[in-house]
Symmetry: none
Subunit: 309 residues, 2 copies
Amino acid sequence: MSSGASSTGDAIAALLRRFTPLEVLNEDPSSKTAWLLGRIDGEDGASASAVVTVERPPFSLGGAGPGLFHGIALGEGEQNDIYSWATGFANSAALGPDLRVSVIYPATEKHISKHRRQQRRWVCETPQLYAQIVQPYVDAQPAARLRWVENILDKRVEAERIVYEDPDRETGFVILPDLKWDTADAASMYLVAIVHRRGIRSLRDLTAAHLPLLKNIRAKAAIAAQRYNVPADALRLYIHYQPSYYHLHVHITNVALESRGMSVDRAHLLDTVIANIEDIAPDYYQRATLSYVLGADSELWSRWTAHSG
Amino acid sequence: MSSGASSTGDAIAALLRRFTPLEVLNEDPSSKTAWLLGRIDGEDGASASAVVTVERPPFSLGGAGPGLFHGIALGEGEQNDIYSWATGFANSAALGPDLRVSVIYPATEKHISKHRRQQRRWVCETPQLYAQIVQPYVDAQPAARLRWVENILDKRVEAERIVYEDPDRETGFVILPDLKWDTADAASMYLVAIVHRRGIRSLRDLTAAHLPLLKNIRAKAAIAAQRYNVPADALRLYIHYQPSYYHLHVHITNVALESRGMSVDRAHLLDTVIANIEDIAPDYYQRATLSYVLGADSELWSRWTAHSG
């Protein structure tokens, strides 16, 4: 439905000039992105909801020359010895475009709630609270939620996507590219190892009995990554807690990749997990207090509030 | 050396108009930040190196009204059913400032190499390797590198920036905004607690003796954050290992903030640190294997290679 680059840009700009913002649905200050709900008046006088995402694009500095900051206007600033800093306006195209917009129009209630910020809540999970709140939740997961994992392990689907396999029932696993990775750019390499052994639901289940499995993943991930020319010392291996599904899997990324999933809010380095079990205590993960963030709309968070309420 | 907000901004803008870019030292597309090396001609005709960090600030949408996109000009774009997107220029102050700059001028070779993109290397630091490689490096740090910390703790500089203090010599600390945070946007709140007690160089030094200090920081950070209307359950507290300076400090951010510093590559949650010492082993951090990433140009990495080579 695209109809030539600039006229499409002009049409979107014309639409946005009729946009009246009503609410900031969400903001991500680190990626410099915000999500706005508003209304756009149609040509017939009626109006409909629109969700507009505004994002600052990365700088385009390829042609940066002497006049780069010619039009700069700075407001508040500070100077301390050789260091100074200030915020203002570039007033120049030399740094590249300053805005990327996406528009959903007309937007439904479903679009709106999908883009509205979920409050995030910290949870500090002691072993006692794991037993009282989290383990019952994990036990209650329907088996059907892991059917896609079983399908992969049994090669019923995605068999052609498997890039490495150790078929051992106790210490083996398959490795395949994460769906978030396009497999083209080695700098953003993102693989996932899914273990063959059933019944290891999360970090909480890991003991000294699993050291051969964990060390095997660490060793063989390096072989899988060779396929993408990513050397062993450039690999970041980690486990999420809470995971998004309760069958043990290990994330394998290029250390050059920065992603939300490697946040200390969720990620536990495989090296640390192995060392905690081997050098500190074989039952470390049954005794540990694990802190993490939950979305306020998640089922697990509702169990936490029901417990404390 | 600050001399009134707007005239300082004007002075920095005047400096930047004389900036000639020579090289893009590094770029981070996810945070929309770039580091430029260039030269600035002095008034005497001589010129010196400058490192300029340009960053897109988060949007300021507090006063967003009907004319928000009035001046928008979009280039390439796409439309597909109810979805459309395009990149261009806002041509408006309604979205807030579009540029934050930091300048180091004159900059030394050390400043330049610190900001140049480095290859990243994983290190798996056992207690033995800490004793052999890292502890001698930490011991060799010149005292002068901590002079700015002493200046803050003794109120010789930045006293007006301190937002909270517990003056106790053993369990006290000061809290001030991190220089990366503009103090305006609560969603990106970033504070640092610097302990009064001298001689705690890093995570490796922490034992059960420090639990009162660590718990005091956890409790009082919530009071400091109230000033910015950030509730206690929205705080992420963590310690870096390796730290950027060897005097114990704790990072305090809004959980809504996503930043490179909260990566599992470096960050250790204060809750986890306290639980490891209290519930697992009082000497946990003397026995732990700690994994982290070093820049290939860093002095510490050169010590690792010298040790293994």
